[in-house]
Symmetry: C2
Subunit: 275 residues, 2 copies
């Protein structure tokens, strides 16, 4: 299906929103530098050689630099001992030139993810994955919030304005996306429902959604008859699908072409929620 | 309406469940003492003279004592300075005879609740109101959990057994009850919906609930036609209502007598969820 203009207007352009966001952050960084003489610095820590993680880390460095901030990369061998990694985090915690620390996940199996993530000083835990920031989010307080749900919120607010009173249905209850997304949307005044692997009638719940967020990681899990006419659909899934001709294609958790007919707005994959 | 036996079997007897729980805790405390030589100690801190708080604090001390633990009461004047309160908490944090610390809320206005609660060492924050325990709950990790939602979960598990796959609708999104309740039920495999003041059709959502939890604090907010036949209803609200004859009566957030007809199980007020 080749979307005509009416369809095109429904598609949420995540890349354009991201570019505008980078520009506005760049301006804030510059003003901050003029006011304080300081340049924000982000340290990214990668352990091992996972190819996808290498791409993510590289992109984070580019985006950081593009926004006018300093980027520090720490790429450690797969064999790094936990004490070495914790010692590095302690140094970064104490380093006044570093304002944020990201430890790229997943970590090699011999490292304890919980211990490592919670070793980051809460005010530098810009991924918001530690206990303190998760607690602040849960309590409705200010803190660092995981990037994917925060990005989805930004897409929703850019598209819909205020979200108060809308019914948001989230499919997928992960710590990285579903649960923090629920807390962010509750804070915005949404009615929030969370469905997952044990949900008996996910379609029946999804059909009530003014906002439908799908973050499961199963290609085209959600058929168009789960989408209420006029809903806004945010698709966080991204799966590489084999095609009959031997090529591959990236697809989301939502059957995009059919859902596009019913939704008021929908994110494409790729180029939507950005994962 | 005078409930006959069929009705009586529907009423969840919170007091009986609480008595059985106290007995089982008493046994665990005794075994712990025999194994380790230690007796668990709970410190309860009250600032000021709020009459309801005085009753709560007294009841906590009695229950603690009844379960074979040591109870330490710290009753401070309304005028206590924040630094004095923080110094007391620091001493209790360092005291090996104290395993849990409760600071009774609400605090007098001149004290910063967030700072005070988060000064309690997370492993002694047995009310689970600090950021670290809220984060652990949100991330599905072990930690201390606020007592009211934990008690409601206990009532549900005692009544229904496994909760996996049931649709729980929670009305009220407070940090004390609604939000931690949602996280506890998600961890049990429930589909969870959260309604609140901004929800457009709370009745329509409530009517889908296998488990309906109401924690708003508005007398008889929920009429019986919000209750799906066969649902289990947990009423956390408690309001003192004036009667025409000048007397008063405690009522919950649910219109109990009518809801009793439709529900499979329901908590009474008082004597149910225990607030």
């Amino acid at each position: 299906m080749k979307p005509d203009d009416a369809y095109r207007r429904k598609i949420i352009d995540g890349k354009a929103i991201a570019r505008a966001l980078t520009d506005s952050i760049k301006e804030k960084v510059e003003n901050f530098r003029l006011e304080t003489g300081q340049i924000p610095g982000l340290a990214v820590v990668l352990v091992g050689n996972d190819p996808a993680s290498e791409v993510y880390v590289k992109n984070k460095a580019i985006q950081t630099h593009r926004a006018g901030m300093r980027s520090f990369m720490h790429m450690l061998p797969e064999t790094t001992a936990q004490e070495e990694l914790l010692a590095l985090i302690a140094r970064l915690n104490a380093d006044a030139a570093i304002h944020g620390i990201l430890v790229q996940l997943p970590l090699p199996q011999h490292l304890d993810r919980n211990i490592v993530i919670n070793a980051i000083a809460p005010h530098k835990d810009v991924d918001g994955l530690g206990e303190v920031n998760a607690g602040r989010l849960s309590l409705g307080m200010d803190g660092h919030v995981p990037c994917t749900p925060l990005g989805c919120l930004k897409l929703l607010q850019d598209t819909l304005g205020t979200l108060r009173g809308l019914h948001a249905v989230i499919i997928g209850a992960s710590n990285l996306v579903g649960k923090p997304m629920a807390q962010l949307l509750l804070k915005q005044g949404c009615t929030v429902s969370i469905a997952h692997i044990d949900t008996k009638d996910p379609g029946g719940l999804a059909r009530q959604a003014d906002i439908l967020i799908v973050a499961v990681g199963k290609a085209e899990l959600v058929p168009s008859d789960w989408v209420k006419p006029g809903a806004t659909v945010i698709d966080v899934g991204i799966t590489r699908m084999d095609l009959p001709d031997g090529k591959t294609r990236l697809v989301g958790d939502v059957a995009f072409n059919d859902a596009l007919e019913k939704a008021a707005f929908i994110t494409p994959v790729p180029g939507g929620s950005g994962r």
